[in-house]
């Protein structure tokens, strides 16, 4: 009986110690945090780094963001993209970064049967998404513009670092630039000896290592119709999480309809194939960025089919009826908020 008493007392003391420890953790762990705001690539970015070299790594990351922004900007006349777009079909010699991003984007365009197309810019411009002078284009103008949209006509000469597009084509890295940038920043952070950091480039989240207390980073996927609510939380380390949704950039036209910025390259209209949010989780920010757009364009059925064949990435897909589809690789790392129906997409390993 004395033993039982001892056990009970030990349990009570252990429980109290546990509670107090969890409290003191909250108080102490932010000491070595270094945080930086950056406004670039038309978005708000935050870098959160832990450890001695945090400040140095953040400054170098900011320099890299500015460098890549200059290369990938559509509007800056000196950018690689502008050089390609203004080359009247003759092509332009560009940086290694531009070649890498374009090569990966074309691979994914091919894998997704053109659901991702970095030549969609003329159509996006016609809708006013680049200037915020929104309008619903007539179908004749869209058909004419779609004549100048086809990733298959983009050619990359790896030896000469040259990209050529037909006259009238315009490239835009809007669906891939932030993903590549977050990959580069994570590289810089690691090279500078920082083993714990979280990079958020306007919703493109990428983690370096774990949190400084050794636990996993928690990344929430927000409700597509209510930003104050979260659909689920993912526990990650060394992974990127990128979401594309129809709630990010949109306008309401005079016809009362909502039009969003993710354009279906096959129709020239905002992609409306069943999904309202597509999140991709993987080790490459660039791949996650490109695929989140592609899966959104593909729509529910094609996206589920794609995910079931590609075990190297994970995804959370939400359709118009708020059905949630989650790839089985996330079974252990996802916590879905209560009240939501979800189904796992089972895949062969």
């Amino acid at each position: 009986m004395v033993m039982d008493l001892k056990r009970l007392l030990s349990f009570a003391i252990a429980a109290i110690m546990l509670l107090l420890c969890s409290c003191s953790e909250n108080i102490d762990n932010s000491e070595k945090e270094y945080k930086k705001d950056i406004f670039a690539m038309d978005t708000y970015m935050t870098l959160k780094l832990y450890g001695e070299n945090g400040k140095k790594a953040a400054t170098l990351s900011q320099d890299e963001i500015m460098r890549l922004e200059k290369l990938f900007s559509v509007t800056d006349e000196q950018s690689d993209i502008a050089k390609i777009n203004n080359s009247s079909g003759n092509g332009a010699v560009v940086s290694d970064d531009t070649i890498k991003v374009a090569t990966k984007a074309l691979d994914i365009a091919s894998d997704t049967d053109g659901a991702l197309d970095i030549s969609i810019y003329p159509v996006l411009k016609e809708w006013g998404f680049t200037t915020e002078n929104y309008k619903v284009p007539d179908s004749t103008s869209l058909s004419a513009l779609l004549q100048n949209v086809d990733y298959k006509n983009i050619s990359i000469n790896q030896k000469e670092n040259k990209i050529t597009v037909p006259n009238g084509y315009m490239l835009d890295f809007g669906s891939v630039a932030k993903g590549y940038t977050s990959d580069r920043i994570c590289e810089i952070i690691r090279e500078n000896g920082v083993s714990s950091a979280l990079v958020n480039l306007g919703g493109n989240v990428q983690a370096v290592g774990k949190k400084n207390d050794g636990s996993l980073w928690k990344v929430a996927i927000e409700h597509p119709k209510d930003k104050s609510d979260t659909i689920c939380k993912l526990s990650i380390d060394n992974k990127a999480v990128v979401t594309s949704g129809n709630y990010e950039r949109f306008f309401e036209a005079e016809d009362g309809k909502k039009y969003w910025h993710i354009i279906d390259p096959k129709t020239g209209f905002p992609a409306d194939n069943g999904l309202i949010s597509a999140s991709v989780i993987g080790s490459s920010g660039l791949e996650c960025d490109a695929l989140s757009t592609a899966l959104f364009v593909m729509g529910t059925n094609r996206a589920i089919e794609f995910c079931s064949k590609h075990t190297d990435i994970d995804a959370v897909l939400i359709d118009k009826e708020m059905n949630i589809y989650i790839t089985d690789g996330l079974r252990e790392s996802i916590t879905v908020s209560s009240g939501y129906n979800f189904t796992f997409i089972d895949r062969l390993k």
């Binding site: 009986m1 008493l5 007392l9 109290i16 509670l19 909250n26 406004f39 038309d42 708000y44």
Partner: protein, 116 residues
């Protein structure tokens, strides 16, 4: 003595756990109250820190000549008016908890509730 202790054991343990919980809640609240400060940053530079327990109304100059009016009221902070075109910062409403933030992208301005 053993019989007496045996009778007291369970209530004693329950009391200890409840006492622990109360201490934990008090400490959590103390920690939460430490977050009653808002940091205002323009282009990454901290330009002011506002105590959320002191009601005030401030006009600040963001980037691109955008003026923003910030109001601190009853432990929270919100953007009352911004000259920016999209007004996303105004629509965000009042924030109170540590880690919450209001971002005005055109003015390169961030208002974030942080620990004291």
């Amino acid at each position: 003595m053993n019989v007496y202790l045996k009778k007291l054991a369970v209530p004693l343990c329950i009391t200890m756990v409840i006492a622990g919980c109360i201490i934990w809640i008090i400490l959590q609240n103390l920690y939460k109250n430490k977050g009653s400060i808002a940091e205002v940053r323009v282009s990454g530079e901290t330009i002011m820190r506002l105590d959320l327990s002191e009601n005030t109304r401030i006009k600040l100059n963001g980037e691109e000549g955008i003026d923003i009016i910030i109001v601190v009221e009853n432990g929270g902070i919100y953007v009352e008016h911004s000259d920016c075109p999209d007004k996303i910062c105004e629509k965000k409403g009042r924030i109170t908890d540590t880690g919450d933030s209001i971002v005005c992208l055109p003015a390169h301005t961030v208002i974030e509730v942080i620990k004291k």
